[in-house]
Amino acid sequence: MDSTAAAGPTQANRSFAEVAELERTWRDPQTLKGWICTLDHKALGRRFIVTALLFFAAGGVMGGLIRHQLSEPDKTLVGPDIYNQLFTMHGTTMMFLFAVPVMQGFALYFVPLMIGTRNTAFPRMTACAYWVYLIGGLTLFAGFAFNTGADAGWFAYVPLAGPEYGFGKRADFWNVLVNFTEAMGLMVAVDVTTTTLKMRAPGMSLRRVPLFVWASLVSSIMIIFAMPTVMLGANLVQFDRMVGTHFFNASEGGDALLWQHMFWYFGHPEVYFIFIPALGFISAIIPTFARRPMFGNDAIVLSLIATGFLSFGLWVHHMFATNIPELGKSFFTAMSFMIAIPSAVQLFCWIATLWRGRLDMKAPLLFILGFFFTLMIGGLTGIILGSVPLDLQVHDTNFVVAHLHYVLIGGAVFPLFAAVFYWFPKVYGKMLSEKLGRWQFWLLFIGFNVTFFPLHILGLAGMPRRIYTYAPETGWGALNFVSWIGAMIEDVSMALFVINIARALWKGARAPGNPWNAGTLEWATQSPPRPYNFATLPVVGSREPLWSPVVDGPTHVTGLATNAREGLVTTVLDALPDVRYVYPKPSVWPIVAAFGVGFWLIWSIFSIGGTLWGLIPPGIAFIAWYWPNRRDSDEELALQKRP
């Protein structure tokens, strides 16, 4: 075995022959089919992350075009039609095709490693989810390429996105994209939730669950509760558009405001289920670089859960300018302020950890310090937006554009880069360049603030959002020009990131199993981890199993088959061993089902008949997927009799 593998307990007590057998059992065949049908959570997680980062790049280019178009008054780089598609695609791409999937990708990759198991609970479903996501994203971009890009904003307010004012098939593409990505999000969320609750290594009671896993669990549960609303809403709009129902048509007894409730009841939690995994990154990284366990671990867990709950009670602060009753609005102001408290708890616990730690100032930590600065500004402007009177002034202006980028780039993208620098050695077995990382950080930090800080001032100067140009007399030109310069600095930073990745993959230094001497279980595997993750499943006795291993009692799980894909199911609260579980084998049907779903949904854009008849291919694929297989059942039965 590789001598760089961690010296943790998990590689012990395995003969070479047993390890070789595990490798045979879990490895995918080195063929195209093996690659496509893989059920390895690491391959799937990587796939999600890489795809999401590509969408991030596409969304970033669109953002750059928006800044370029606005860089001077009366500019004609693009006209209003293209501009409206650009900002709609930018928002939709970033929220639906980048932020949510990238966080889910990290959860898929790291949750099983951190809780000490071999795979996620429902890998076939996740394999299906990936292709649903990819097909959905490409469909949206295909529409854009043929000048049928969604153009009603990422929030797609009716009536602008409704049958009367949403021309052509543009809004239909958007509605159907929602179906794609929400189906993907739900499938992955169910998988991550089940894995976290039922497949933890023995001894990893809920109190010992790493904070990143907690964050993934909370955000997955939020996804399960939030996403159905927008899916339902988008389909009601689709009904209005395709069969002439009047859910949102005021002149026929519908209500345009209903959509806003449905959208923001999902949309606000969405911000938090992007933000919460990012908080998890931070809570994973800070203890490693502060060289001590997290201060206030339980308080942080409770804060994550509280944030999850409270985030469902804020949606109306996106609607303060509508004519809903004033007293109700005050309630949402109170809720919006209250959600700052769990964030404050976490913030102070992190500072306390840093305070008592012994800091090792590496690139991941640098990105986290950038996060503190940026997110603080975004959080404080968020308080301004939560107050009804202040919101009435800054709502729908560039002030909000500044706020949301401070929150999402500060709160999610900075931590994301920290996470990439932190875990890249684990995933690819290569170290990223520290020097390039520092350059990338400083360029991003400066570029980001130069781009977005001026937008606060523009908002107060009266510049609304989503305008394709403005007259010179407004006096907004100078700050918009500064903002464009900032965007170009960010471009350089992103280029350095790409160079750093390419350089590391090509000739980066070999990463040891645990390059940062961190304490959580993912570092007990080799870098990159073998397909079976752990040669023997670990037993856990503390929050940082690698810093304080189990001293008395068993240190690892014995008795699981090495010739079958077998894992251990444990109890929800205390992670006591419960039953043995045979993971599903790779199959082509989940992928066929994903393409079937794609066929159905794309057909439903163009024809109401497609909504019905299009169900046939995915229906067949789903039946084939679940069709019992005698050989597999016999194997499982044999395992049950004699492991």
Binding site: A290, A299, A344, R356, R358, F372, L390
Partner: protein, 329 residues
């Protein structure tokens, strides 16, 4: 430069006061947290360096500190608890300030208020001055004139999609949602001209859906209103007469109205007193004879997607129509 903080009336002033309170509190919190963070990072990095120098040759990574001193941890716990408590108290304070500002906004005295009705269209504003006397009702477009010192109640309706009414110098926003009627109340306390803009994304020309808000002293306002109630004057020059003829027999009258003529379209701005307005096409162009001619000739050049079509008028006809419209003071 900051329209939001340059208040011209009590509503915007209330919000401005809350803004500065919130702003300084946020600055305080930001500076305090950044100072704590900076201090924490500085002293911990120093500790790590000291440790590394002490066990030279032990490698770059320091062993994790698994048993932090209990007394230190307790002190830290107290600091965290106090910080959270202070943050919560500040938030409660801001909540109270916010709710009281809200109340103040809702309690603007409305005695003798001026009632105006605004209907938002893609992409212009119809402004109707209601009056109990039917012949006192008049309408204009893309321009809201109000008397100084008198409260104004604007009733807001949308004709097509959602728009939002926003004059930052006077008040915050109010959305205009199809099928719903909303109201916004404000008062201008000084003379001035400000720009209002549509703040809710409403399609292709959301960028150019502005209106001028003009506050006049009461006597000047009364004179203005009196003038607006008058029908269009009879054109004197032959060119203007020909222009009117073209207007009422051509395609203009299908959408536009000029009171005192047979043009009675209600799809587009009322032009009875167009020459008295400051801007054309919802803030897109300054109102001059030249820009009016260019606008009639090719509106799509200025507002791509606008509902006014391109007109292929012979040069003389265009000049005549412009000459007529220029008489509509």
């Amino acid at each position: 430069m900051s329209a939001v903080l340059d208040a011209a009336g009590p509503q915007a002033a209330h919000i401005g006061a809350l803004w500065w309170l919130t702003f300084w509190l946020c600055v305080f919190v930001f500076v305090a947290v950044m100072a704590a963070l900076g201090w924490a990072v500085w002293r911990s990095s120093r500790r790590a360096r000291a440790r590394r120098n002490a066990d030279a040759g032990a490698g770059p990574d320091v062993a994790p500190d698994l048993q932090p001193a209990a007394a230190d941890e307790r002190r830290l716990g107290i600091s965290v608890a106090v910080s959270v408590a202070v943050s919560s108290l500040l938030l409660v304070g801001l909540l109270v300030a916010s709710v009281f500002t809200d109340r103040a906004l809702a309690h603007l005295p409305l005695d003798n208020a001026l009632a105006v009705r605004i209907i938002a269209h893609q992409w212009w504003w119809e402004v109707v001055y209601d009056d109990p006397l039917p012949d006192h009702v008049f309408s204009t477009a893309n321009e809201l004139v109000v008397p100084v010192g008198r409260p104004v109640v604007v009733t807001l309706q949308a004709d097509d999609v959602i728009h939002s009414f926003w004059v930052p110098n006077l008040h915050g926003k109010k959305d205009l949602i199809p099928g719903r009627i909303s109201k916004i109340e404000f008062r201008a306390d000084r003379e001035g001209t400000w720009v209002g803009r549509c703040a809710e994304y409403c399609g292709l020309q959301h960028a150019f859906m502005a209106y001028d808000v003009v506050a006049l002293p009461p006597d000047k306002y009364a004179a203005w209103a009196e003038h607006q109630r008058m029908p269009a004057p009879e054109p004197a020059s032959p060119a203007a007469q020909r222009g009117r003829e073209l207007f009422v027999t051509g395609s203009c009258m299908l959408c536009h109205a000029i009171v005192g003529t047979t043009a009675n379209g209600r799809k587009a701005p009322d032009l009875t007193h167009i020459a008295s307005r400051r801007h054309l096409a919802a803030g897109r162009l300054t109102n001059t004879a030249d820009s009016l001619a260019q606008w009639i000739e090719d509106p799509q050049q200025f507002k791509p997607g606008a509902n006014m079509p391109t007109h292929f008028l012979p040069h003389d006809d265009l000049a005549a129509v412009v000459a007529y419209l220029e008489t509509l003071q």
